[in-house]
Chain length 295, copies 4
């Protein structure tokens, strides 16, 4: 019986890479948060302290900034693939490089002026191995709300259940979704992402909901139906509760609340996580291995 | 020599009021964060513990929710004025009621479906006294960036100065601005706010900057020039530093950085605060007294 | 009628200064978050863009780090006074320098090993003018809770009031307090701070509470009674509501809740702000002017 | 080729359970953040919207609060096991219940008065299946720092490497660790946790570090050596960079920086994740499946 090193990875998290393209007077901006990790044979670094196989996290960061210029950022997926391949090339001991990117959108105010858009953040997680690569595209902080056409009833009850059934409630979530592509080459990442986002929004708005689970499932199916090249999609969706304010104790004549005034609660919140997948999807290998927040 | 109670106020902070207007199939949503405070003669509550003069913060919260229905939210300023007046009426010991509101914008997806817009937050601080009221409208989290036309040079130097002068840098801030209206009645709050926001954005984008101070001053003057009814405007503007990444130590031929790749830094940050005012502005009384983040 | 520049200040916020004293094998650590601001005649910087009078925020930051070595940090008040005086000396246009410091405490693990303590943060706000200086010492994030000996009853009621009176509730707050010293020289800042903190804790624990206002007032009086050199104290205290969980709808025999199980709520929260002062306290001038969170 | 539901789980996150034990005048407090999830056969909820098998997240929350009284909280692990078993009993469709708990420590001020300690948070993740259960105990936000006895040298270099080698640096991390117990019954959870924490601190303080990886590995081995009942431990450790401030450009005679003044940086940060395991550890099944932040 002895101890041994198990799974491990290391890298540089949250490099805030801002790229200005200024080839013409009309500048472009890409605003990223980049994290990289290397996995592989790094036993010596852990056990003897020998760092000979270790490409420093500082170098990983430097490479992330340099590749914003050397390779450019036509899409975060394309940039992450290039960066991951470079890190694998630079570090022989690594078997895999994972690059995680968040992109913050800006709206144009002028030729060289921008205002940050806010709202949903575009994401990707790219895992590059010695043989192949897997791309997960995604979205986070997509806050959507239906003010009706949502019910919750017919659920299991026990002695601790106090929730009344309802046939009209607010349904709201701050959606995190990630979807896996079967292809790595030949994808128009920006067009694909825009199409998925539109499908998610349309399906959310157009689906009568008997539970957030049903809505998520419908959204997942719609994405897979739309783009053959997407193998699966996973959701992590907090149920952002909007509780109807109880005016019944107020001594105010005629003050009613027919689904009009809500308190938006912080904690606790329901948390629904689900995957929708093609039944013939190729295996994901380790693509989801270190991705937080997904079952 | 004795101790005495000095300035004091109390209230309920951050009630998350969500109002759905569902008079027709096409719903509307207003999404607010509401804080209220009362000031006045509350000595007994502090010194003897007698609460007879104290309108509980719980009641203040209840009123905030009820007024979302009873008065409605045509604008946050109008709602805050009504709520402040009600609180003053309900609490004879109070001399002033202050209502602070943040509004989160949503975009429409369908008749009863919405996606949260993100980006800048609309704000107001309304202080209602027994005789009069003062309205501060505002904006926060307005993140803007100019990728050129910004310099910083000719500054004072001492033995601790290492910053090089530059004639081309990124200028970015996450702006908080509040402006004081001279009128309380007859203002189209929504139109006024939209116009100020547009003026701020246009001026930021259109001004060559020798310092963030100069840009803020120009923005303030533009707002005052546009709307006679606005007496003053105050800014709190973190200088969100974007440092040019130094590629000089990289052994990569041809890798240059002519204002193209930046690291967006978190801390420390410059913090610029300034007021622009009409020279004949009426006094503000206590309108700014408890407003955080402003000089 | 013309526009003019009003109040203004600028500086560098949140420099994270960590000082290791390693004169012997037994190291010491001081871990600070330092913000500086200069006020004075900076009209040109705003109006013409001329920066000749402006000591850059970058230089202010450099000075903050250098003074951690040149002057040392025997206490944050002493360090802030020295830093403020230096900034005033370096910048002739400035009439005042304000230095705000937060200190994070560490516990010792070994001669050169430490674990961050967490809990309350020690603070100071020092405003240095050409003639004199004012020191505010303080504490923030001091989370305290009484599980009984707290009531809330006899309050004003109106038609929106639904809160029941109670003679036994949990009282909890995350206290921010700042107190003003009349002296600048000859104070043992560390001893004084430790004594105030102890008095605040003892008084909170030992006071039967009819309202958070009464508790704060008692705490303020106790501090002023203990240290003659302190002229006034101000509190900003969120009432961190702990709501008794209602088990009445549960179908579980014998399940009662006599003040035993609470849900700690996030928002909204009561917010109580108050000042206790000596009736012969010298004027504070601008010491509180730019200090957020205080009335 | 068709779509199908894949992995999924649902539950209530972040119920803030505060338990006061007031059987005597000397009260006790336990302050928890509780999250629960159920996994199993919930296809109907997703596909047809039929909720008959779904124990609502609201009921899960109610049970979490009720069990704070009915079962009590002798330790978070014991409480989580009881709660998980109850949820599995109440929900026949579930195959597994996962309960995640964070505990915030308080120090005593008096018989019924407490001050929140801050610092590290005790955690557990308990996964209860129909046959067995797995307990992961843990710690988060354990911020530790060595001011010397840390080097980083001999690492792999490429054309993007600019980091100089160093034989004396500050090593600091905000540690997250979780360790898996082989036993579920008969463990003194509180004693075991205290012992692991002490071992982690002692090993961190006592280990000369050639890399954070080596330090983590040493800490993991020490824990496994100390407690036979622990099968494995996993770490997620941001390398909280403390950069030596460069005084070389300052025009101040004698101003040097021999490891004395550092700037604590926010982003980016190194992120080191590693597992140390017994070579004969029993399989973990799904115990780590939904645990964020671990490889």
């Amino acid at each position: 019986m002895a101890n041994k090193l198990g799974v491990n990875q290391y890298g540089k998290a949250e490099s805030r890479v801002v790229r200005i393209v200024r080839d013409t007077a009309r500048h472009e901006i890409r605003d990223l948060n980049v994290s990289t990790s290397l996995r592989g044979d790094f036993e010596d670094a852990h056990i003897t302290g020998d760092q000979a196989a270790v490409l420093p996290t500082d170098t990983q960061k430097n490479t992330a900034f340099a590749y914003a210029k050397l390779h450019g950022i036509s899409s975060i997926e394309d940039y992450a693939l290039a960066l991951g391949r470079r890190l694998l090339e630079a570090c022989p001991a690594a078997s895999d490089a994972q690059v995680r990117v968040e992109e913050y959108a800006w709206d144009r105010l002028g030729d060289h002026s921008f205002v940050r858009r806010g709202g949903a953040v575009r994401t990707c997680v790219v895992t590059v191995g010695r043989e192949d690569a897997v791309v997960l595209s995604g979205i986070s902080d997509l806050v959507v709300l239906n003010s009706t056409d949502s019910e919750f009833r017919g659920f299991l009850k026990d002695e601790f259940t106090t929730l009344p059934e309802t046939d009209d409630r607010v349904l709201a979530t701050s959606l995190v979704a990630k979807w896996r592509h079967t292809a790595v080459e030949g994808v128009d990442w920006n067009a694909s992402h825009a199409a998925v986002l539109q499908t998610l929004l349309d399906t959310f708005a157009g689906t009568y909901s008997r539970a957030l689970q049903e809505t998520l499932h419908a959204m997942g199916c719609a994405v897979l139906d739309d783009q053959e090249e997407i193998a699966e999609i996973r959701f992590s969706a907090p149920n952002k509760h909007h509780f109807l304010v109880d005016f019944s104790g107020f001594q105010v004549e005629g003050l009613t609340n027919d689904g009009e005034v809500f308190i938006a609660a912080d904690r606790p919140y329901g948390l629904i996580e689900a995957q929708v997948t093609r039944d013939d999807a190729p295996p994901a290998d380790d693509a989801w291995l270190h991705v937080p927040g997904f079952c």
